[in-house]
């Protein structure tokens, strides 16, 4: 499993690996919002939590179709399926690799962009915390979606349609935690629910993903 994780990370930083694409997309979307809304600091700081969370959802979505499609095309997915590494482990390694190359950089860059959207100062730590808790779920749910569409030509659009509705709970509780933090309220409830979504998806989805892959590989 660690071998697969390291290989995927290495592939991501090599030429054409797409590392940083999600991060760059996130930066651009968030920078575009103040330009579109105009210099209304009060409005911006009100919508900042939602914008930051929606942007990270879209950025995570961007690289999902690569998770299994490349391995499927060059045949390594079939070889992995017959290897001693269980497909459940492979799914987990793939999701972790996706999170490290997409979710983690997003989380670390988000506070700087919160400044751009004049996010309330009290909300920064909750922004960081909610993204840290929530983005792993985005990667795991996305890995499941990628397994569903593996082998389909141009499956990327279908993947977005399948995965985005599944992202809704993460978005609601993530943005809610930041908003409550900004308003000086207690965001603990939203953070706990966010953590539950992540824990739940990591507990269940590797098995579902592996079963889906087995069917798609037939």
């Amino acid at each position: 499993m660690i071998a697969l994780l390291l290989r995927d990370l290495r592939l991501a930083v090599r030429a054409g690996g797409g590392f940083g694409l999600g991060l760059a997309f996130f930066l651009i979307v968030v920078v575009l919002v103040p330009l579109g809304v105009g210099p209304q600091t009060e409005l911006l700081s009100r919508i900042a939590p939602g914008i930051l969370w929606v942007a990270s959802l879209l950025a995570a979505l961007l690289s999902l179709d690569r998770i299994f499609a490349l391995d499927f095309e060059d045949g390594s997915l079939g070889l992995l399926a017959t290897s001693p590494l269980p497909l459940e482990g492979a799914a987990l390694a793939k999701a972790l690799a996706h999170w490290i190359t997409t979710g983690l950089p997003l989380t670390l860059a988000a506070p700087a962009l919160g400044f751009l959207l004049s996010l309330a100062p009290e909300a920064y730590k909750y922004l960081l915390l909610s993204l840290l808790l929530g983005t792993p779920a985005l990667s795991m749910i996305g890995t499941f979606g990628a397994a569903l569409t593996v082998g389909l030509r141009r499956g990327g659009l279908l993947l977005s349609l399948l995965v985005l509705p599944l992202y809704v709970p993460t978005l609601i509780f993530g943005a809610e935690a930041v908003r409550r933090g900004a308003d000086g309220l207690d965001p603990t409830g939203a953070l706990i629910l966010l953590g539950m979504i992540t824990a739940g998806s990591f507990a269940v989805l590797p098995f579902v993903t592996a079963a889906t892959l087995r069917i798609n590989l037939r």
Binding site: I2, A3, L4, R7, R10, L11, R14, A15, G16, G17, D71, E73, D74, G75, S76, G78, L79, L80, A81, T82, S83, P84, L85, L217, R218
Partner: protein, 204 residues
Amino acid sequence: MLRVSNVTCARGGIPVLSDISFDVHAGQALILRGPNGIGKTTLLRTLAGLQPALAGEVDHPADEVAYASHADGIKTALSVTENLSFWADVYGQPVPDDIWDTFDLADLRERIAGTLSAGQKRRLGLARLGVIGRKVLFLDEPTVSLDGFSVRLFADWLQDKHLASGGVAVIATHIDLGITAPELDLTPFKSAPEAGGATDEAFL
């Protein structure tokens, strides 16, 4: 070591080969013959466990099976060494030192796999079989795009290393590998066209 009894395998829900039975003993290879589309790949995928058999049983020692498809599973952004050591890690094996000479890869070790020729990639894909240390190999046209010299290299490895150490191989190929092995022509096992198999496509 490998026992296949009355296996029927299907592609896309339609049975292609029925009632195949054979035994392969340790140190033996079996060569599958048959025209294009007869179901050699389907049979090999079924034997390797990538798809379920419609009927029949496949017996082989657990955790000893490896499959090599048409595609080599090579990552073009990684070097030759990185590609091989990845598979060695997945199977928990060390990379043997003589593998580079066995498959004539010694000069290519640091090359990025994307810059290799088709035949060189194929040699790298076959070298994977040498590092994973599995006893039961299912090989789907292993010699595609190899030149005569490389085919010899591969046949020598198969004969002297793999089979000599008690391994087993089932190989689908159209050419003469130059190894002594019984052949199985799949044409007589072709499923009758009207034989309807269990299919779940009706609900789609």
